[in-house]
């Protein structure tokens, strides 16, 4: 039975015979056929490039929305940005994505740090990683106050 599964019983060197040629032709056709079926499927599985929404600046709300030592997470294109009003009425904005494993960080006014709940990573209010696993600081954003409105923009 295993002879059957593995193909013809007495397989000789048939490459130079007509049968060998036909076999080669069949194999070639079959390979081509399989390729033409699987190529579209593999390409289909690859997610198409979705252009990120290009945003250069976003409003985080009016000044009066922020109390001292409070924070807000806003959408900046597809990404969350953490906006903090510090105790000396200063505004800071950082990417809210933890540099460790992509969790979203939060401002803890009880400790005066930016904290990531996933693995207890801590950043100071300048975005520097001060304790826990995060390998590098949070990416900073620019904050500008324009007519009572808090505007966040990208730092290049």
């Amino acid at each position: 039975m295993s002879e059957f599964l593995s193909g013809v019983k007495n397989e000789k060197k048939e490459l130079n015979t007509r049968r060998g040629f036909i076999k080669w032709l069949l194999g070639f056709g079959l390979t081509g056929f399989c390729a033409s079926v699987f190529y579209p499927v593999v390409m289909y599985l690859k997610p198409p490039d979705q252009r990120e929404i290009e945003v250069s600046s976003v409003s985080a709300g009016s000044l009066s929305d922020f109390e001292v030592e409070s924070s807000k997470i806003i959408r900046f294109g597809n990404k969350p940005v953490l906006v903090i009003k510090t105790e000396d009425n200063d505004f800071r904005a950082f990417s809210a994505i933890c540099t460790h494993l992509d969790c979203t960080v939060q401002y803890r006014n009880d400790f005066g740090v930016i904290w990531c709940a996933c693995h207890n990573g801590k950043f100071d209010l300048n975005g520097r990683n001060i304790s826990g696993p995060p390998p590098r600081p949070l990416d900073p954003y620019l904050v500008a106050i324009k007519d009572d409105e808090v505007i966040i923009s990208k730092k290049d």
Binding site: S6, F33, P40, V41, Y44, L45, K46, P48, Q50
Partner: protein, 359 residues
């Protein structure tokens, strides 16, 4: 290469005794006679079902089953995803060819009386699979959430609603409320990708196990021949290779259809827009849709629609139970009534489908 193959085979054989399985498969013979060609359509239906499962899973990677995103996600599949148009078009075309192939398979079995004793259960599971196929078609049709689908579903579920007593609650169950809304889409999506495939697979396994267990049916005339006069062909590998060749041809036909006549999307369903003029159900529902038009609005005290549904319902039940009322064929006797019924059904379906298309 051969050595590795043999080794794997031996390894498996030692543990799970594949020899037995192969012997079991090897025991199946396909009868050869002038009507053997019809044996292929079960296999073709199976192949198209496999295509549906594969392309269906692929579509699920990008499709979003909600009223807000369904249409847009298919737009995305058709325009942004590499070969998305191909996968969706193959899914649409294979669905149509599948129903067609199932029709042919079913009628060939009917005319050959292959449902007669001892194959009653194979027939019953087969007809249930056919009904499920129609349900697949109906539920899948709504998923693009376009105008045509929206109104086809409105009409279809409304017809269900006219069934006495159970109709109204059934309609509300199907629609997920009084009207066709996003709730209906969610339900149909669930039916189409979870409930129906599960049921279908179960019935299909029973159907195939019965075929394997009982072997292929022979027409009555062939069955009466002496064993020496009968010609057969081993199913494995002789018939299977022929099957595979045909499957390859079907796949090519599918590819040609999908490339030259890709699936359309139309306009997004609008709950406030009037029904589009060209509204028609899928071709395999057309004969029923057309029939309803010809039934008078009132016969005695029964509404036209109710009468139509009752007639089709009774027809469906009789069809499902053919092996149990056609006693003659099971005894090996000739039953011409079956032939007449079959011919009538085919002429009826084809005529009304054509009328439906041109009207």
């Amino acid at each position: 290469m051969k050595k590795i193959f043999n080794k794997i085979y031996d390894w498996l054989d030692h543990r799970v005794d594949i020899q037995n399985v192969i012997q079991f498969i090897g025991k199946k013979y396909v009868p050869i006679h002038s009507h053997s060609v019809w044996y292929y359509f079960g296999g073709v239906s199976l192949f198209l079902f496999i295509i549906q499962v594969i392309t269906g899973i692929l579509l699920l990677f990008y499709y979003k089953g909600s009223a807000d995103y369904a249409f847009e996600s298919i737009q995305f599949i058709m325009s942004k995803v590499s070969f998305g148009w191909l996968i969706r078009s193959v899914h649409t075309w294979a669905a149509n060819l599948f129903i067609l192939s199932v029709f042919i398979h079913m009628f060939s079995v009917f005319f050959a009386r292959a449902y007669r004793k001892p194959r009653e259960l194979t027939w019953v599971t087969g007809v249930l699979l056919f009904f499920l196929s129609l349900a697949f078609g109906f539920s899948g049709y709504l998923l693009p959430w376009n105008q045509l689908a929206f109104f086809a579903t409105k009409v279809g579920t409304d017809i269900v609603g006219s069934v006495p007593i159970i109709g109204e609650p059934l309609k509300i169950f199907l629609r997920g409320g009084e009207d066709v809304t996003g709730a209906t889409l969610s339900r149909f999506f669930g039916f189409h990708i979870a409930l129906f495939p599960g049921l279908f697979t179960l019935l299909l396994l029973i159907h195939l196990a019965l075929v394997q267990r009982q072997g292929m049916s022979e027409p009555v005339e062939v069955e009466k021949l002496k064993p020496a006069e009968k010609k057969t062909m081993p199913f494995f590998p002789n018939f299977l290779l022929r099957d595979l060749l045909l499957w390859l041809i079907v796949l090519n036909v599918l590819a040609v259809l999908a490339v030259f006549f890709p699936a359309e999307l139309g306009e997004k369903a609008d709950l406030l827009a009037p029904a589009p003029a060209e509204i028609k159900p899928e071709w395999y529902f057309l004969f029923m849709f057309e029939t309803l038009k010809y039934i008078p609005a009132k016969t005695l005290f029964i509404d036209g629609e109710v009468l139509g549904i009752l007639l089709f319902g009774i027809g469906g039940v009789l069809w499902l139970l053919v092996p149990f009322w056609d006693k003659k064929s099971s005894k090996g006797l000739r039953n011409r009534t079956i032939t007449y019924i079959g011919i009538f059904a085919i002429i009826f379906i084809i005529t009304l489908t054509i009328i439906g298309f041109i009207s």
